[in-house]
């Protein structure tokens, strides 16, 4: 997956986790926690969804890398380079 495709994959996960959220105005540089009030349960879900959908493992010590869209895409890029769209 290319960075833009990874971003789209994350958007789809966020749509599932927070269906009432308007994601079109999401600021990629600002933390999810701040914009969407995601809590630790939601971050567990992002990790679980990545595992379920793309077989990508995110160890617990790396959860902090998933703070914002930019940091998430950057962190996942090497892990998802071989994942088919």
């Amino acid at each position: 997956m290319a960075p833009e495709e990874i971003r789209q994959a994350i958007i789809e996960i966020l749509e599932d986790i927070a269906p009432d959220e308007d994601l079109t105005s999401l600021d990629d540089g600002v933390s999810f926690r701040e914009q969407m009030e995601l809590d630790s349960m939601d971050f567990l879900d992002i990790v679980m969804e990545l595992r379920k959908r793309y077989r990508v493992q995110v160890p617990e010590e790396d959860y902090a890398q998933l703070a914002s869209m930019n940091s998430t895409v950057k962190y996942l890029e090497p892990k998802m380079v071989d994942v088919a769209v």
Binding site: D20, M41, D42, M48, K52
Partner: protein, 491 residues
């Protein structure tokens, strides 16, 4: 995690493997997680695990789902077993609070729970009332009117509760009465605040853990009451539909007799019919004492540890809407003296000095849904499990009618007298509660001491439900979700 173990891995645990070709219960496959109890907590946990592709099976002793929050049909009328109100109500779009968290975690839309907010409720003591609704400012204005000398202290208390950290186990155990004496000072105000919070979620006698107080305070005063027009069946129906849609299995009439262990680790369960089911871990909503009893047949845990607070509840069907009788409130918590006694009855079958009266008619339902077809008044008072349990069949029937009359007589001191308008009635007692929940003593809010992290002495047996710490419908679901997340998903 999502793959069932292969046949060879399963074999050492299972004496019944030789029967496997016959595909009876005895040859059931290996599950990732077996959940004991199809109440709100068990089903919510099941949804989480099934969603992430676990093989999960819920075993329910009873013939129906829901546990304490079940429903039934009698004389062509629908009844809810325990529901007065769903607490923790927040409006659509709210991002904070347990309700929105549950919706996200279980992938529900706000509309799926069909919640209509309460109209108005009241704490009624002799000669003094505090009204409240789902906006805390209303209660604050009531306290300003009745307890003007306490208003600054009240504001401080509010700030403290907002800051309370749910997960802080040390602060949890502080005495709520002591803490309130320090912060508020006024004994009558303290009793009036404790009354609804104890009624809706205190397993402990006399006093309440500070942590439990804060959780209940938020869920009732800062968030609020609501109810689906169709009652608890709507919530249960949607939960179980989702669970099954994700491939989860539910087995009714499957009581667990024993948790099977090998070298200190659980390997499965033995059912009351003797069949065995194997699994990697067990999440039990049966209660702490009740679960431990399944683990080890040689030691009998003291059932008193399971909690003593139990109730009778009557459901009166009226020939009119309660509003036509001048009753437009949702819930009234009454107490007939300035002292508030939260203990099992010292003598007799019930203590009717305090109680809760609730009308499911008095919620603000959507115009499209309309009014409920008939007027309903639910009345709950404190009862002794042991004394109800001792009665023979004839005495049980007689006492039910006697205490129905006595409890109504007590409550009409605080609400309009509806006794001439009753056209049908059903009633449950502590023994009914035990039959539905299988909890010792018919304890509605479980054990006085909570196991917040849900662990037991067996490393792969975990608790969810009332004895893990959260009560009420929302609390139960939250418990199932958080224990599933913490103990069953991260491997």
């Amino acid at each position: 995690m999502s793959q069932p173990l292969s046949q060879t891995e399963q074999e050492p645990h299972d004496q019944s493997q030789t029967d496997s070709a016959s595909s009876t219960d005895a040859s059931l496959p290996m599950y990732d997680t077996v959940i004991i109890g199809a109440g709100m907590s068990g089903i919510a946990a099941g949804i989480r695990l099934a969603y992430y592709d676990q093989r999960v099976c819920i075993l329910e002793k009873h013939t129906t789902i829901g546990g304490l929050n079940s429903f039934y049909r009698l004389n062509r009328r629908d009844y809810d077993v325990g529901l007065h109100a769903v607490t923790n109500f927040t409006e659509k779009g709210a991002k904070k609070g347990p309700f929105s968290r549950i919706l996200r975690q279980l992938r529900f839309k706000w509309e799926d729970f069909g919640l209509a907010p309460q109209r108005r409720s009241r704490i009624a003591f002799p000669g003094i009332n505090l009204n409240f609704d789902n906006n805390i400012d209303y209660l604050t204005s009531e306290i300003r009117r009745e307890f003007p000398h306490c208003i600054d202290r009240w504001q401080n208390l509010l700030a403290g509760i907002t800051d309370y950290d749910d997960l802080d186990q040390t602060a949890f155990e502080i005495s709520a009465r002591e803490r309130l004496n320090e912060t508020l000072g006024d004994p009558l105000l303290i009793n009036m605040l404790l009354c609804p919070l104890m009624w809706y979620g205190n397993p402990r006698e006399h006093d309440m853990a500070w942590g439990q107080f804060c959780i209940m305070f938020r869920s009732i005063f800062l968030e609020g009451f609501a109810r689906p027009h169709r009652g608890v069946r709507l919530i249960l129906k949607n939960l179980i539909k989702k669970f099954r849609g994700l491939g989860g299995e539910l087995k009714l009439r499957h009581g667990v007799a024993k948790i099977l262990t090998e070298d200190g680790t659980a390997v499965g369960v033995e059912l009351e019919n003797g069949n065995r089911i194997h699994c990697k871990r067990i999440l039990s909503s049966a209660g702490l004492v009740e679960t431990l009893r399944m683990c080890d047949a040689t030691s009998e845990p003291d059932p008193r540890l399971a909690g003593q607070m139990s109730f009778i509840e009557s459901i009166s069907v009226l020939d009119k809407q309660p509003q036509e009788l001048g009753f437009d409130e949702t819930i009234v918590f009454f107490n007939d003296s300035n002292d508030f006694h939260w203990t099992p009855p010292a003598e007799g079958l019930c203590d009717v000095r305090t109680g809760v009266i609730c009308s499911p008619n008095n919620y603000v339902y959507d115009a499209a849904e309309g009014k409920l077809p008939e007027g309903i008044m639910r009345l709950t008072t404190i009862a002794s499990f042991d004394r109800w349990d001792e009665l023979d069949e004839a005495a049980y029937r007689r006492e039910k009618l006697r205490w129905y009359d006595r409890s109504l007589e007590s409550c009409v001191r605080f609400v309009p007298d509806f006794r001439q308008n009753v056209i049908d009635m059903d009633m449950f007692t502590p023994t009914t509660i035990r039959r539905f929940t299988w909890h010792d003593n018919g304890a509605v809010y479980g054990a006085p001491d909570k196991i917040l992290d849900g662990t037991t002495y067996i490393p792969n047996v975990f608790l969810c439900g009332t004895d893990q710490g959260f009560v009420g419908i929302i609390g139960a679901m939250m418990s199932g979700i958080s224990m599933a997340n913490l103990h069953c998903l991260k491997d």
